[in-house]
């Protein structure tokens, strides 16, 4: 099946983009008025988003023109690597978090894209692989980073309890099982909650984009539903796999905490 894309395309000029900066100015004024100290960050965010999106727009244009699935996959691999680097900084409390993140994002992207193509939901062409891959990797990165960040905090806060459990002959996996459940929940709860309220409290991005581009609302809703379900699967894979792989990093092979509690 090929989902219906926009029935008609729209043209957006740079002037219109510049006009939208009025809203950014409001954010900067609010920050300055309340001494939130975010003006510089807002400025950097605006600049980076402009440069990064413009650059990726050119890259995507080339890939679409070439219509090469291999090029699309190469772009997805690059996104996975950058995603793992970015998420590693958020999961500071986890030793050697990069490799678990890289594997979990890679598996989440491969499994979900493979499934949606295999099930005939999307064609294996750059026009579908690139945007869906980007969404899958972005959401998976956030879920895995939140889950690992929570895991790192919990292992640190509960090191006494973990060591007391190890002292009873528990393996390192058994000792952190209660924390794994909480971390997985932390990683997934945002998307689960937003999926619950979608259509009531907010309209998700894909649907908004399609409606703005002139698509039929029914088609926009159906495509959005597919993407939400894909993202639920991807984030669960990324969060669970990253936790499963990273939890070993807190322990030695003799089931000892690498950073035992302070005496």
């Amino acid at each position: 099946m090929t989902p219906p894309l926009a029935a008609s395309s729209i043209n957006v000029s740079l002037g219109e983009v510049a006009a939208a900066l009025v809203l950014v100015a409001i954010a900067a004024i609010a920050s300055r008025s309340w001494h939130a100290g975010l003006e510089e960050d807002i400025g950097i965010a605006v600049l980076r988003s402009f440069i990064q999106l413009t650059a990726i727009g050119y890259v995507i244009t080339v890939i679409f023109d070439q219509d090469s699935a291999l090029l699309a996959i190469a772009l997805i691999v690059v996104m996975v690597v950058f995603g793992a680097f970015t998420a590693r900084h958020r999961a500071k409390g986890v030793p050697n978090a990069f490799w678990p993140l890289l594997v979990s994002l890679g598996v989440a992207a491969a499994a979900t894209l493979g499934l949606v193509v295999g099930l005939g939901i999307f064609d294996a062409t750059p026009r579908y692989l690139v945007p869906v891959g980007g969404m899958v990797i972005g959401n998976s990165m956030t879920a895995a980073a939140v889950a690992l960040n929570r895991l790192g905090e919990d292992v640190h806060d509960q090191s006494r309890r973990i060591e007391a459990t190890l002292a009873l002959g528990a393996t390192s996996s058994e000792a952190v099982t209660p924390l794994v459940q909480r971390s997985l929940r932390s990683g997934m709860i945002t998307l689960v909650d937003s999926t619950k309220t979608t259509g009531l409290i907010f309209f998700p991005g894909t649907m908004v984009g399609m409606l703005l581009a002139g698509a039929d609302p029914t088609d926009a809703v159906r495509l959005q539903l597919i993407l939400l379900y894909v993202l639920l699967g991807a984030t669960s894979i990324a969060a669970l796999l990253s936790i499963t792989l990273a939890r070993r990093n807190f322990f030695t092979s003799a089931h000892q905490l690498r950073e035992p509690p302070q005496p």
Binding site: R160, R161, T165, A167, G169, A170, T252, Q256, P260
Partner: protein, 232 residues
């Protein structure tokens, strides 16, 4: 000999905690005695491989503990930490935790009784017990593994005097009723004199003396009498 430590050195965050420790702990009740921060608790954690030394050897019944499976060792040499650290759930859930992992049979009520707790406690929420009661649950869940050795890290430091006396009586009763050996870490020399037959005194990460408790831990009164006798 139950435990032998040979040239054991252990550092943490760049700081030497144990420095060339040579010590022997015989079967029975032994104590590791010294002031706070002297490395006593760290030494205890080396005995059941919650940590491994940077250098030197720890032997349990003649075997280097590094050559033993850490999980089996910890079930045989069970450690009760200084502060209660129970899992969420009832007293029974806590007592059952270790034996279930090991696939052992166990009897919660008799373990509670051995630890000096009323067996009726088994259904109670562990988090709602007093610190003294929680410490007894920690003891009961270690006993549920039927260990040969119990390592106790300052078992009464968080308790008031009445609870401390009760725990000491429980430990004394345990020695009478079972063949279990105890290794007790304490900063309280009087408590060591009451509970152990052999003592290792440790100061700033080094062993300063070791031997029968009566020889190693001389009470202040005895020191005064000896000084008076020397003077006269």
């Amino acid at each position: 000999m139950l435990f032998e430590l040979e040239g054991v050195t252990y550092s943490r965050a760049g700081k030497v905690v144990l420095d060339d420790v040579n010590a022997r702990l015989p079967v029975g009740a032994s104590g590791v005695v010294g002031p706070s921060g002297s490395g006593k608790s760290t030494l205890l954690r080396l005995l059941n491989r919650l940590a491994d030394p940077d250098a030197g050897r720890v032997r349990y019944q003649g075997t280097d503990v590094r050559d033993m499976d850490p999980l089996s060792l910890r079930r045989e040499v069970s450690l009760v930490p200084q502060l209660p650290a129970l899992i969420d759930g009832t007293v029974h859930d806590n007592v059952a935790f270790g034996p279930r992992l090991a696939g052992h049979s166990f009897d919660t009520r008799s373990c509670l009784e051995l630890a000096g707790l009323d067996p009726e406690f088994e259904g109670r929420d562990a988090s709602k017990l007093s610190v003294g009661e929680q410490q007894r649950v920690m003891l009961a869940r270690a006993l549920a593994l039927e260990p040969r050795v119990l390592l106790l890290d300052e078992p009464t430091s968080a308790l008031d005097q009445a609870a401390r006396d009760a725990i000491e009586a429980t430990l004394g009763g345990l020695r009478e009723r079972t063949a279990i050996s105890l290794v007790i870490v304490t900063h309280d020399t009087e408590q060591a004199r009451r509970l152990v037959e052999y003592a290792v005194r440790i100061e700033r990460g080094r062993v300063s003396s070791q031997g029968p408790t009566d020889e190693v831990l001389v009470s202040p009164e005895e020191i005064s009498v000896a000084a008076w006798e020397d003077a006269s």
